[in-house]
Amino acid sequence: MQEAELHDLSDDPDYVASQQQGSGGSENQKCTRKSNGPTEPNGSEVVYSKDNVAIHPTQYASERISGRLQLIKRDLSLFMTWIPYKQSASYGVGQGSRVKLPEKDRNLYTIRAVPLTDVRSIRRHTPTLGWQYIIMVLTSGLAFPPLYFYNGGVREFLATLKQHVFLVRSADDANVFLVNDLQDPLQRSLSSLELPRAVPVANVASSSSSLASVHSDDNSNQRSNADYHDSSFSPTESVGRHRQKVRDPARDLSIQVLEKFSLVTKFARETTSHLLRESQIFDNIGGYEKQQQVHSSPVKNQVGGDPVSQELQDKNQIISDPLEKIACRNGKLCEAAATLVGTFELIDSKEAEQQSLVWGKPRLPPLGHEEWATFLDEEGRIVDSKALRKRIFYGGVEHGLRKEVWKFLLGYNEFHSTYAEREFLETMKRSEYETIKHQWQSISPAQARRFAKFKERKSLIEKDVVRTDRSIPFYDGDENPNVGLLRDILLTFSFYNFDLGYCQGMSDLLSPILFVMEDESEAFWCFVSLMERLGPNFNRDQNGMHSQLLALSKLVEFLDSPLHCYLRQADCLNFFFCFRWILIQFKREFVYEKTMRLWEVLWTHYLSEHFHLYMCVAILKKHRKKIIEERMDFDTLLKFINELSCHITLEATLKDAEALCIIAGENKAACIPPGTPPSLPVEGGLLE
């Protein structure tokens, strides 16, 4: 950083323009002052200014929010701001938003004077089609949503930045630029391990200040408030690298906890998930009060200041973040949390270093009984099935609740059915099940001798049920009656759907369902519902599998073209190595409990009915480097994938898959042709 070239910005036309255009009007600069931005306009210098830099709050580029990106130098510090244009002004600019968004929504994305010392890395995306954009990852592990340069200029931006801060290209990824990275890798790794007192001051300031953004009013986190009030967020301090600093115990404590990236991320996630949980509960009971509290927390420091809490009154109008918007057009859930953390996406820094993959939303704890009750009206109808599916998508279901909830997810019970209707259905279905079961039970030995197909099926099923999950206590031991139930249900199914019959893999799909339902008829009908979706996996000609593998190939081509390229070279584009994943929905890749968790997430069909394919892409992408570097051929790759079994982290993969699903956006329609299993004929309700 060079000598500070100070001059009054009031005569700078750009500055004046930004003053005029900055949304939030007069409050704008006040907010900046409250946050750790320049305290006075004089003494600041705009070193870079770019118009038509936009954020896409939704998957649709037409709903973008355009604004001005600036780098401002004050004293020795460099700050970045992105101020959205005022709505009226944006039309004048021409390339501004075409969709009128409430002003407050626009404010949520405003980036007010973030010191570059808080930025860990900048990832540049310069796709051949579409707009260039950058993703800034903060030292806290959070990231701003992509900033799209509609008029180009990413290179210029980076060049300017390079003149003012230490910028180094990541060794792992040429598109990632590390900001203020210590030159010596050894030193760098040491610094991440060091005890608080030895931590470079620059990191100290950045960790604590950017963490304020995820701190909540969570009681368990009183430290956050203390931290916030204790530390004086002056810009000079943010550049603390050049200064000695007096430490206070509160700060040290937070550093101790937060210095390591993984911890920061974990902390941020926990805080966020707590918020999500809270906000969701309060949303369900329609509580505003708590939200008010939430929004009066220090978090506003980063998300836009005072106006936010007032504007939140009209909560259903809030845009949260791109994920949120796509996921939840009716804006029912999670606004508060989304507001607090919504302008960020969480990034696992370890992963980010390896893969630079933007993670999905934080996962929630599984849905429990109390919360479940809030989804039901007095007669037992699920009032907002989409909210329920979303809730389950992000957290799954507590085991004790699965028996009830799975029936809805699988479509056996309709969301709008009442308790009475479901009870009636159960009785009807129980007798219907007995009728079908009786069909094969009544086949006499003499008849069976002349019924080769039946004998063959029966013997195949009998051979397979004794080879299904016998290590699970529910199915273990000799003469276990549950193994007999598996057999009866599968045989009955092969009569219920005689054309499909029985195929290996079905017992894997039935096993957890029977385990959860603990009831023969209920398990049967749930299995029937599941087969409505997954039946094509077991077609004799395997066309269901082939169409999914093809869709997977297209998704990989779209979402990870280097990998696709490599697989083409290696003659592996049939994706047969993902066969088992898809056939039985990752049943063999996770332990039993995790499989159930994954399935309930998949069954929500929340972001996509093909979410399992995004799971595949997420896992492949994670190992892309190894696959390509080791030049795996078909055999080696197949073996490698097989051996990933029980070594895949479910929650992380779900988040990756979520992010990929969002990234695929509208293009997924092109990747996944209609009718690819488990696509159903749309019957309304479940799928929008």
Partner: protein, 211 residues
Amino acid sequence: MSYAYLFKYIIIGDTGVGKSCLLLQFTDKRFQPVHDLTIGVEFGARMITIDNKPIKLQIWDTAGQESFRSITRSYYRGAAGALLVYDITRRETFNHLASWLEDARQHANANMTIMLIGNKCDLAHRRAVSTEEGEQFAKEHGLIFMEASAKTAQNVEEAFISTAATIYKKIQDGVFDVSNESYGIKVGYGGIPGPSGGRDGSVTQGGGCCS
């Protein structure tokens, strides 16, 4: 662990004939009657010695059900040896041999060595296919033949090793161009380098017997 050669094997045959059990007996020397059915393909590996040369067998254990044939066929690619297994107590598994053989001939390389195994010979009292019939079928189709039992381990070692010996002899006789990996043979350290030179043994993750 380094090897002179690596041979890729594939185990095929009807579902429930004991393919996975044969593999487990060979790689782990144990019989596990309760064993999850195979979906797709599973792998096993073991080092053996032939002619004082360490040879690594990488064995692909496939799903037997008819529906999966279209997928299974892709696994034949580059297999040096195949174990074609039937169950001596179930006649139909023997009757289906011709169809398996046809698949193998069509999708594997012509020089693949095929060993026919009549498994479950410990269950002689339930025998539905005679030893002679097995021998006859093998003779007609140019296969090596053995009856074996994954349960008692009878002939299991022999089946895998004599297949390897046959492949090894074919190499010595110059039947294969070992530098061409489509034959299912990789040359490691200590092997006879092909025209294009040997390959590093580490490429297939040497070591562990259960890989």
